[in-house]
Symmetry: C2
Subunit: 204 residues, 2 copies
């Protein structure tokens, strides 16, 4: 199960279930998301297995905080999961499915509207990741050879997110070009030709 291992990875630094939920929803972790209602029971299970330990701490405001931390056994489990090879699941990408079936609308204006909406969402997501990258550059410089050891992998993960969103955005531009040209061509077809010249011969 992936969420378990992701929590093990995150809890090498102690945190509460609430903290983890916030990290997910603030997009600190662009590669995963979980609701708190899923996080709390999972933390309980991991503690039962001995992969996490926990203790209580008073909160500045609000109720007591239950702080968790990965144990040695938990770290071993995380390492086993990492060494187990890439966990590439089958993609379920509803937005590509939408692109695929968009001809059901038979309305290029609608298609264009939807692709532009995608572009808007992905631009926002990319901006967030690029802000993270800028911060890294400002702090440690642009030369990756000089980044501290423990930044290498998190930074690589960030780069993956950036590359993926850029690819999506490039696709939006490519697709908008194609759709717009087609729309223009169709508009022209429907315009009554002032002088048919010799094109008429090819008709049907």
């Amino acid at each position: 199960m992936s969420l378990e291992h992701i929590l093990l990875g995150m809890l090498r630094e102690p945190a509460t279930g609430y903290d983890l939920g916030r990290e997910f929803s603030e997009g600190a972790q662009h590669f995963w998301y979980a609701e708190r209602s899923q996080i709390y029971p999972t933390l309980g299970r991991l503690e039962d297995k001995g992969w996490l330990r926990s203790w209580n701490e008073p909160s500045e405001r609000g109720p007591e905080r239950k702080v968790y931390e990965t144990t040695e056994e938990g770290l071993a489990a995380l390492r086993a999961w990492l060494r187990d090879g890439p966990h590439i699941g089958r993609d379920r990408l509803a937005y590509i499915a939408q692109a695929f079936f968009l001809d059901a609308l038979d309305d290029l204006d609608e298609s264009i509207r939807i692709v532009k909406a995608m572009r808007g969402k992905w631009r926002e997501a990319l901006a967030m990741l690029e802000a993270g990258e800028d911060e890294v550059h400002a702090t440690f410089g642009e030369n990756r050879d000089e980044h501290p050891d423990d930044l290498v992998h998190p930074y690589a993960a960030l780069r993956m997110g950036i590359r993926q969103y850029r690819a999506k955005l490039a696709w939006c531009e490519e697709t908008l070009t194609v759709l717009t040209r087609r729309l223009a061509a169709r508009a022209q077809d429907e315009t009554p030709q002032p002088a048919p010249t010799e094109v008429g011969a090819v008709k049907e």
Copy 2:
């Protein structure tokens, strides 16, 4: 629910649950996957809603085939789903999580091994999509303005897949370069220096 709408889209051409399952597992649909054990009950529900109709046909070999087809109401539901804006779910990408937490191994050779394994899988996936693209080019030419109308959206979906995999592969190369350089630098650090020259002053 996405699977329902994807089946509605696919069943504009009549097919059986078995056929749909084969399309998913043969990668004809690179953006979605479902087991037959999920497909059959979903088809039943869609028929109850009146979004699909079905009839039986004898099979060439094997038991009777139950063929489904999208109804007018089903098509309307599909269109509503398409017009509803982009369905961009929160990503759950275990492989990026692995990249992120890989420092837990503290072993660059292992990191490199895992990134190479990712590259291998994605190369295969890309090759399949590119083969599909080649086929399109061979049949309809490379100029998208001249593709038939009903190919436009499926082809755009294919392009998205290709761009995504290319981005992943570019990331693999970038990451392998960084990791290899770092490995080399570390090996050099650990090699006993034959003549420390004046670098010794900076130690600690």
